[in-house]
C-alpha cells in the first residue's frame, strides 16, 4: 500500500462513524462509499464498526438496580405531589 492510499484509508476511517450515523453530507458519503467498495481492509473495518454499534444499541448492562424500597418510593411520590401542588398555586 503506498502513502497516498494509506492517507485515503486514514481519512475514510476517521469519517466512518459519521457515515454510519448518516451524518455525512452527500458528497463525502459518496466518497466514503467509493473507497469502501474498492478497499477490502477498510470495508471490513467499516463492517466490524457497524456491528459494534449494533451491539451497543442492543446492550443491556449486566448489573440491575435493587428493587425500589417503599421508603425510596414514598420519597419520590412526595416530591411528585409537592411539584403538582406547587404548580397549582
Amino acid at each position: 500500500m503506498d502513502a497516498i492510499e494509506q492517507g485515503k484509508c486514514s481519512e475514510v476511517s476517521a469519517l466512518l462513524s459519521e457515515y454510519l450515523n448518516l451524518e455525512l453530507p452527500a458528497d463525502a458519503c459518496r466518497d466514503v462509499e467509493s473507497h469502501l467498495s474498492g478497499c477490502e481492509s477498510c470495508g471490513e473495518f467499516a463492517e466490524s464498526l457497524r456491528k459494534t454499534v449494533e451491539l451497543c444499541h442492543a446492550y443491556l448492562p449486566s448489573a440491575m438496580p435493587e428493587p425500589i424500597s417503599s421508603r425510596a418510593r414514598e420519597e419520590l411520590m412526595g416530591a411528585y405531589k409537592r411539584m403538582l401542588a406547587a404548580r397549582q398555586r
Binding site: Q6, C9, S10, S13, A14, L16, S17, E18, N21, E23, S41, C42, G43, E44, F45, A46, E47, S48, L49, K51, T52, V53, E54, L55, C56, H57, A58, Y59, L60, P61, S62, A63, M64, P65, E66, I68, A72, R73, E75, L76, M77, A79, Y80, R82, M83, L84, A86, R87
Partner: protein
C-alpha cells in the same frame, strides 16, 4: 433498550397532567436507565444506587420545568449526569487523572491508522453467547476514559442525538462526533480481543498490534 421514546413521552405527559397511574412505570423505567448509566460511569454499585435516587428526586421536584414531554429522556439524563458528577467528586473511587484515547496511537505516523483498522472484520455477532457478550461490553465500555464513555453511553446505548448529547455534556457537536468515533474504535478492539481470547486462538485476530 426498554421503553421507546414515544412511550416515555406519554408517561411524562400523564405525570405532568397529574395522573399518578404513570408513576410506577416511569420510576421503574428510568431507575434502570439511570442506574446503568451511573454504574458504568462510577463503577460502583453503591454509588450508582445513590445517584439513581438523587437524580429521580430532582426529576420529580423539577418535572414542571419539562416543557416538552418528548424531550424527557435527554432531560432526565442531564439531571443524571449532574448527579453522577456530584457523586464522583465526593467518591473515594474517582481516578486522579483521566486517561484519554488521544494518549494512544495519534502519532501522525500511521500508528493511529493501525489501531483503527488492524484486523478488521473479524468481530462476530453470534460467536459470543449473549451473557458473555454483555459482560464483554460491560468491560469494554467501563474501560473507556470517562469523557468518551459518557458520549458513547448517551449516543449508542441511549440513542440520543448528537445535538442532545452535546447539550447534556456541554460539548460541541464536532467533539461529540470525534469522541464517539474513538470510543467505538476502542470498544470494537476490546470486543475483538475478548472474542479472540474466548475462541482459544488468541493470535488469530490481532497480530498487527
Amino acid at each position: 433498550m426498554g421503553l421507546h421514546r414515544e412511550v416515555e413521552a406519554r408517561l411524562a405527559a400523564q405525570l405532568l397532567a397529574g395522573e399518578p397511574e404513570a408513576f410506577d412505570r416511569f420510576v421503574e423505567h428510568f431507575r434502570t436507565k439511570i442506574f446503568h448509566y451511573s454504574w458504568l460511569m462510577c463503577g460502583q454499585r453503591e454509588d450508582a444506587e445513590e445517584v439513581v435516587q438523587e437524580a429521580l428526586l430532582k426529576v420529580f421536584e423539577n418535572l414542571a420545568d419539562l416543557r416538552d414531554p418528548s424531550r424527557v429522556r435527554p432531560w432526565v439524563f442531564q439531571i443524571a449526569k449532574n448527579a453522577c458528577l456530584m457523586k464522583r467528586r465526593k467518591s473515594v473511587f474517582a481516578p486522579a487523572r483521566e486517561l484519554s484515547l488521544d494518549d494512544h496511537g495519534s502519532h501522525g505516523d500511521g500508528a493511529d491508522r493501525e489501531l483503527q483498522i488492524a484486523d478488521g472484520g473479524s468481530l462476530p455477532d453470534r460467536r459470543l453467547i449473549q451473557a458473555e457478550q454483555r459482560r464483554a461490553l460491560d468491560r469494554a465500555i467501563a474501560a473507556l476514559p470517562e469523557s468518551y464513555k459518557s458520549v458513547m453511553l448517551l449516543r449508542d446505548v441511549e440513542e440520543l442525538s448528537t445535538a442532545e448529547t452535546a447539550q447534556i455534556l456541554d460539548l460541541t457537536e464536532d467533539v461529540v462526533k470525534t469522541r464517539l468515533h474513538r470510543a467505538r474504535v476502542s470498544v470494537r478492539k476490546t470486543l475483538e480481543e475478548a472474542v479472540a481470547a474466548g475462541s482459544g486462538h488468541p493470535g488469530e485476530t490481532h497480530g498487527r498490534d
